[in-house]
Structures are given as structure tokens and as C-alpha cells.
């Protein structure tokens, strides 16, 4: 595998009295979408701030693109959307975007033309000469999003990028994120909403109370979790089906609802063999679906409700 875009090596960060991140290690491979998941106050933002070199870890090492340079020196290659959004209220949108490009090392003229393209793309083409304070909150979010991407970074780090967006804007930004990943670049984003991560991410890390709980490709994580259920809906041959479902060598548990049933397989048994047995016995099926455990379910199972810190500890 090529050099990881981000590698975090035994990193610990303490804030007066409590440990925000404890001995955290993971790496983000180049290319694709990587999700940093965890409940509020788990240490996601602290981790991201350390990656961005805004704060320094107390212990451990973080490197970007396998380089020894600090991420601030590499900032021309990194785009960053902080959790706390902020723009200069009195500035014109186009100039603001250009400024954000400039502090990433772009030339003024390049930054301006790029800013214009992004505004067109996000449907804000007519707003370039308006001041930030004249925009709605959703529009400001989009401007900030464009600001993180204006210099075409090969690594994009987004802290809670989809929070507070309406469905339309959510879709627009998701499309942009997916497009970045498709072009071979890397997206690392944090979220506490598992459904988003489940649909978008190739790989995830779940952290809770500053410690890593789960790490891996989404498919592996789900497979590794084991607990797979199968949903069945019967058309005919219910009696034959009941005999097969009673076979405790294959089926661990069966919730029979009459016309349908939900089945848990014995560990290590392929769901295909159940399907073969049912079809062989002449059972008519209108539905046979292997239901993968949701990240939500895995998250709850691994972290438990205790892992969810009170909402007001979010600042950590």
C-alpha cells in the first residue's frame, strides 16, 4: 500500500485535568473517504486539530503524506473545514474565498478565478459581491466548504461537515465529497451520525472517551461484527420452512411473524446454505435478504450508552 495520507502514532493529548485523546493510533490510506466516528466529546475535534497542527500532541507523532514537515507547512496540500464555522462578516464572498486561497499559498488571480468557479458550482454565482453577513446560514456553510477546497488539496479534512445542513445542501456537499474521493484524493471527515458514515465511508475509526474502539474498512467491520440477520417473507410452503428454521445446527434464533420471519444464523454458517435448503424444500419466497448490522448497532454494542459523553463536554 502507498504512503498513508495521515498517520497517527500513539498520540495522547491532555487538557487541564482530563485526557482528551489517549494513545490513539490509526492511519488514513491515500484515496477514498475515511470516517472518524464517535459520540460528542469523544476527542474527534481534538484529533483533527492535532492533525492540522493547531494544537500539539503531548505524546506521540502525527505525520501527513509520510513527511516530517508540520502540517502547517504542508497546508497547501490540505484543506480544512473546522467544526466551529467562521467567516469575516464584512467581507465580500468572492474576496473572502480568494483570501482563504491566498493563505493556502495560491496566487491572487488563481484564487479569484477558482473562487468564482466554486460559487457557480454551489449555486452562489450571483452572490460573489455580497457580504458574508448578507448570506443565510446555509449559504455561509457552503462558502466555508468551498473555502476548504479552493486550492484543490489532495487531503481534505472536514470536521462535522454535514451538521446543520438542509437536505438539499446536504446532497450538494455529499456529491462534492464523493467526487473528491473518486478523483483519487483523500477525504477525512468526522461525524457522530452513523448513517452518514455508513453510506459514504470506505474506512472508519470509531473513538470513544479518547480511545480507539473500532478501526477498519466498513465491510470488514460489519463482517467482523458477526451478528448477521436474514429477513424472510413467505409465499408458500410455510410448513416446510418451519422445519428448516427449527434446525439449530444452522439457525440460532428465529422470530416468526407468520408471513415473514427474521432469522439469526449460527456463527460460521453461510446464509447461502439456508437459501439452498429452503428452495430445495419447495418453499416459495418473495424476500430473502441478508441484513448487515448497521454501524449504529455496532457502535452501540461496542461503545454502549456509557460511551456517550454529556453533550456539554463537546468542547474537548
Amino acid at each position: 500500500m502507498s504512503t498513508p495520507a495521515v498517520s497517527i502514532d500513539h498520540v495522547t493529548k491532555r487538557f487541564s485535568g482530563h485526557v482528551a485523546v489517549r494513545d490513539l493510533s490509526f492511519s488514513v490510506p491515500a484515496g477514498g473517504i475515511f470516517g472518524l466516528l464517535g459520540p460528542n466529546g469523544a476527542g474527534k475535534s481534538t484529533t483533527i486539530r492535532m492533525i492540522m497542527d493547531i494544537i500539539e500532541p503531548d505524546e506521540g507523532k502525527i505525520s501527513l503524506f509520510g513527511s516530517a514537515a508540520s502540517s502547517r507547512d504542508l497546508s497547501a496540500r490540505v484543506g480544512f473545514l473546522p467544526e466551529e464555522r467562521g467567516l469575516y462578516k464584512k467581507m465580500k464572498i468572492l474576496e473572502h474565498l480568494a483570501f482563504l486561497g491566498e493563505v493556502k499559498g495560491m496566487r491572487v488571480s488563481d484564487a479569484k478565478s477558482k473562487a468564482d468557479k466554486w460559487l457557480q458550482r454551489l449555486g452562489l454565482g450571483d452572490w460573489g459581491q455580497k457580504k458574508v453577513e448578507d448570506l443565510s446560514k446555509g449559504m455561509q456553510q457552503k462558502v466555508q466548504f468551498a473555502g476548504a477546497l479552493i486550492h484543490d488539496p489532495e487531503l481534505v479534512i472536514l470536521d462535522e461537515p454535514f451538521s446543520g445542513l438542509d437536505p438539499v445542501n446536504l446532497q450538494v456537499m455529499k456529491d462534492v465529497v464523493v467526487e473528491i474521493a473518486r478523483s483519487g484524493r483523500t477525504v477525512l471527515f468526522s461525524t457522530h451520525i452513523m448513517e452518514q458514515a455508513e453510506r459514504m465511508c470506505d474506512r472508519i475509526v470509531i473513538i470513544a472517551r479518547g480511545e480507539k474502539v473500532v478501526d477498519g474498512a466498513v465491510t470488514e467491520v460489519k463482517a467482523g461484527f458477526g451478528d448477521r440477520n436474514i429477513a424472510l417473507t413467505f409465499v408458500s410452503g410455510k410448513e416446510a420452512a418451519e422445519r428448516i428454521l427449527a434446525d439449530r445446527a444452522m439457525v440460532a434464533k428465529c422470530d416468526d411473524y407468520g408471513a415473514s420471519a427474521e432469522v439469526s444464523m449460527v456463527a460460521g454458517v453461510n446464509p447461502q446454505s439456508l437459501l439452498a435448503a429452503l428452495v430445495g424444500a419447495g418453499v416459495g419466497l418473495s424476500r430473502f435478504e441478508v441484513i448487515e448490522p448497521s454501524l449504529q448497532a455496532i457502535f452501540i454494542a461496542k461503545v454502549g450508552n456509557a460511551g456517550v459523553a454529556p453533550a456539554n463536554a463537546e468542547a474537548a
Binding site: 492540522m52 497542527d53 493547531i54 502547517r72 466551529e84 467562521g86 493563505v103
Partner: protein, 438 residues
């Protein structure tokens, strides 16, 4: 470096575009022009011939002397200018009160419709020469200058008449009465500068005021701009791309260049107004002579340069500290506590100016113009008042630059930690730890 420049430029443009900048920049020069032209314009109203009836109850020709003395006065002191007074002497012939009252009845009418009327009646009693008492009944007796001038003229005639009556030759007399006329001119570097003492004082005071105000206003703006960046959370985006030192530098230089622009406009206006005031007077139809009566200071190019140099030095010194204070706080209210540390320094530097006015090369003036934190006001003021040895200027500037380096180092350390601190404001102990941290 280009990132720092981007921050400087953003800061500069954001500030120059505000209405506040436009208004404050324009207002001071307008004020300056007004202060130099309006008095002359105002005085012009008094420059017309006053029609006076003289009730002459004197019996030794004193009334005639008064008439000829007043009659020879012209408005601007030049022989071809209009006469100051139009006189009409009436002998009292023993009926002083009746004559006076009949003339008073003729005052106050519009001269265009009633050319036979008067602006005032001057009554010279028969004991005038002894007692010096005279009476003026006029439509306008509150004009201090015109009344003073009339009184002065009467006194002069009185003096001359009394002395002549004692047998003193009028020619000798005139010679003897000529007073001293002391002209003060500042000498700098062995050369006369052409600035009068009064003008030096005015320019010194003006500079002290503008320098004090400039540092406080622009320092506060720097501070508030940092606080705004913190509260709007734009700080994180900047902090991930730009070093804290670059941010601090960009911020201070950005606001500073706005200040420099404004100071240049102001200083330049003073320079133009003072050097071109005669032409300026012509534009508003005020006689150049009237303009010259007011001790408007002139600003030499050298003084202008010193003024700007010390504004830059002083602003950077205090601006860096104001920025550091801003970085520690999340609201202007929080910041006041720390600003209270800077205010006494600025106050002392301003009030030291009065000691310098008293004695520019004295025990307060010389050290004050050398010590950083005070020299940014003291030195330009001293320069405007007296010749400053080049060595002292070099020492003052060197100390200033050294202090600037030290202050920037401390400020950037506070800034580095402060900008990402939210929540409660730090104690002085904590700030000290930030400075010492690696």
C-alpha cells in the same frame, strides 16, 4: 511571506473600506483648514469703516488731535487701505449732554438708507486730558478688538499730548515710544528653521495629540480585530495555514499601514495648508495679511519624517501588545483589564509633553525622548521645539527598535497560545507561563 502579505492586504482593505475610516480621514483635514481659514473669515466682517461722531467738549484742541489721529488709521495698516474710521467732530459748546443725546438719536440706522447716521458717538469731556475718561455710545460695543483698538488710539493721543505739553519734542517722543519687537525663531542644526516659537509649540502640541490618539485608536482596533477573529472562529482556518507569528505580524502591519495612510493624509494636509495658506486664503477671498495674523504652525519635511517614523515605531510597539491582549480575550470587556496595563504608559508619555514644552532639553525631556514606550511622543515633540543632537536621535531609535524586537517576541508567544484559548480569561501567572513555554 506572501501569506503574511495576504493578511496585511486583507486587513488594510477591510479597514480602509469602512465608513469610519473615510469620515475620520476627511474630518481632520477639514477641521485643520477650517481652523486656519474660519477665524480670518470671521474677522473679515469687522473690517469695515466705523462711522463715529465725536462730541468735543475739550477746550485745548485735544479733540482735534484725536480726530486727526483716528482719521489717519486705515483698516489693514497700509496707507492705501480704506480708512478705519469716518469721523464727524461736533463741538459741545457747553451743551455736552444735549449734543450727545441728539447724536445718539442718529445711531443704529442702516447707513445705506441714512448716510447721515453713525455707528457710535465718542464723547470727550473737558477733563479728558487730566482724567483720561471718555465715553463711547455705540451700536456695537462688544467687539473686543475694535473697542481695544479705539482705546489704544485714544491712549496714544493722550500720552503724546501730555508729554508734548510737558515740553518734549514730538520727534524724540515718537522715537522713545517705539517698543521692542521680539521675533522668536527656532534654530536647528546651526540653521534657522523659519519656525516661530509659538508655531513650534502649536505643532508640538498637535503632534503629541495625534500620536497619542493614533496609537490608542489603532492599538484598540488591532485588539478588537483579533478578538473578532477569535469570536467568529475564523482563527482555526488561519491557524492551520499560517504561523501565529505571521498572523500577528500581518494583523499589526495591516492595521498599522491604515494608520500610516491616515497619518500621512493628516500630516500632508497640515503641510499643504501651512505652506499654501496664502494661496488658500485667496481661494476664499481672505486677504493674505489677515491670514498671516494667526500663528499657524508650519511643518518642515524633516519634522514630518520624524513624526511618521515615531508613529510607526510607537504603533508597532503598542500594537503588538494590543494584539497580544486581544488574543487572550473573548470580548472587549475582558480586554479592558489588560489594557489598563498599557494606558498608564501612554498617559505618562502624553503628559511628559508638558515638561518638554517647558524645557525641551531638560531632565525630563531628554530621557523621555530616549526611553521606548515614551519616546514615540516625546521625541517628535522635542524635535519640533528644539534642536536634537543626532546621537540622541540614533540612541532613541536604536532603543526603540530593540524594545520593538523584545515586545514582538513576548507578544507572539502570548498570541500563539492565546488565540486558541476560549473560556475564562487567563491570569497574569498563566500569561507568564505562556511566554516561558518552549
Amino acid at each position: 511571506m506572501s501569506k503574511t502579505f495576504a493578511i496585511i492586504r486583507r486587513e488594510f482593505i477591510a479597514r480602509v473600506r469602512t465608513r469610519t475610516f473615510l469620515i475620520t480621514t476627511l474630518l481632520l483635514p477639514v477641521f485643520m483648514v477650517a481652523v486656519s481659514v474660519i477665524p480670518a473669515l470671521m474677522m473679515r466682517g469687522g473690517d469695515r469703516t466705523t462711522r463715529i461722531a465725536i462730541v468735543d467738549a475739550t477746550n485745548d484742541g485735544f479733540g482735534a488731535r484725536v480726530e486727526s489721529a483716528l482719521g489717519s488709521e486705515s483698516l489693514s495698516g497700509k496707507p492705501d487701505a480704506p480708512k478705519r474710521y469716518a469721523l464727524n467732530r461736533v463741538a459741545a459748546n457747553g451743551h455736552m449732554v444735549a449734543v450727545r443725546d441728539s447724536l445718539v438719536a442718529l445711531t443704529g440706522e442702516n447707513p445705506a438708507q441714512h448716510p447721515e447716521t453713525f455707528d457710535g458717538v465718542l464723547v470727550l469731556g473737558d477733563s479728558m486730558l487730566q482724567t483720561g475718561e471718555a465715553e463711547y455710545l455705540g451700536t456695537n460695543t462688544s467687539g473686543l478688538e475694535s473697542m481695544g483698538s479705539l482705546e489704544g488710539s485714544l491712549s496714544r493721543v493722550l500720552r503724546e499730548t501730555r508729554l508734548a505739553n510737558s515740553g518734549i519734542n514730538p520727534a524724540v517722543l515718537k522715537d522713545a515710544l517705539r517698543g521692542a519687537d521680539l521675533k522668536t525663531t527656532k534654530v536647528s542644526g546651526g540653521k534657522a528653521t523659519g519656525e516661530s516659537g509659538a508655531a513650534s509649540f502649536m505643532i508640538g502640541y498637535f503632534m503629541a495629540f495625534v500620536l497619542y490618539l493614533g496609537v490608542v485608536l489603532y492599538g484598540q482596533q488591532t485588539m478588537m480585530s483579533v478578538i473578532e477573529e477569535k469570536t467568529s472562529r475564523i482563527m482555526e482556518v488561519l491557524a492551520s495555514s499560517v504561523r501565529p507569528f505571521q498572523m500577528l505580524l500581518g494583523k499589526v502591519l495591516g492595521v498599522g499601514s491604515v494608520g500610516l495612510l491616515q497619518m500621512s493624509i493628516w500630516g500632508g494636509t497640515v503641510y499643504l495648508v501651512t505652506s499654501q495658506r496664502v494661496r488658500l486664503a485667496g481661494l476664499v477671498h481672505v486677504s493674505p495679511d489677515a491670514m498671516q495674523q494667526f500663528p499657524i504652525p508650519t511643518m518642515s519635511a524633516g519634522l514630518f519624517a520624524i513624526f511618521l517614523a515615531y508613529f510607526i515605531l510607537g504603533f508597532l510597539l503598542y500594537g503588538a501588545l494590543y494584539a497580544a491582549i486581544g488574543s487572550m480575550c473573548n470580548s472587549t470587556q475582558d480586554a479592558q483589564q489588560y489594557v489598563a496595563v498599557l494606558t498608564p504608559l501612554l498617559m505618562v508619555s502624553f503628559f511628559a509633553v508638558f515638561a518638554i514644552f517647558k524645557d525641551p532639553t531638560g531632565g525630563i525631556g531628554v530621557p523621555m525622548s530616549m526611553i521606548p514606550f515614551f519616546s514615540q511622543i516625546a521625541m517628535p515633540v522635542r524635535w519640533s521645539l528644539s534642536a536634537v543632537p543626532p546621537l540622541q536621535l540614533v540612541i532613541s531609535l536604536t532603543l526603540g527598535v530593540l524594545a520593538l524586537l523584545g515586545v514582538t517576541w513576548v507578544a507572539s508567544r502570548i498570541y500563539r497560545t492565546g488565540i486558541l484559548m476560549y473560556g475564562k480569561k487567563p491570569t497574569f501567572g498563566e500569561i507568564f507561563r505562556w511566554i516561558r513555554a518552549k
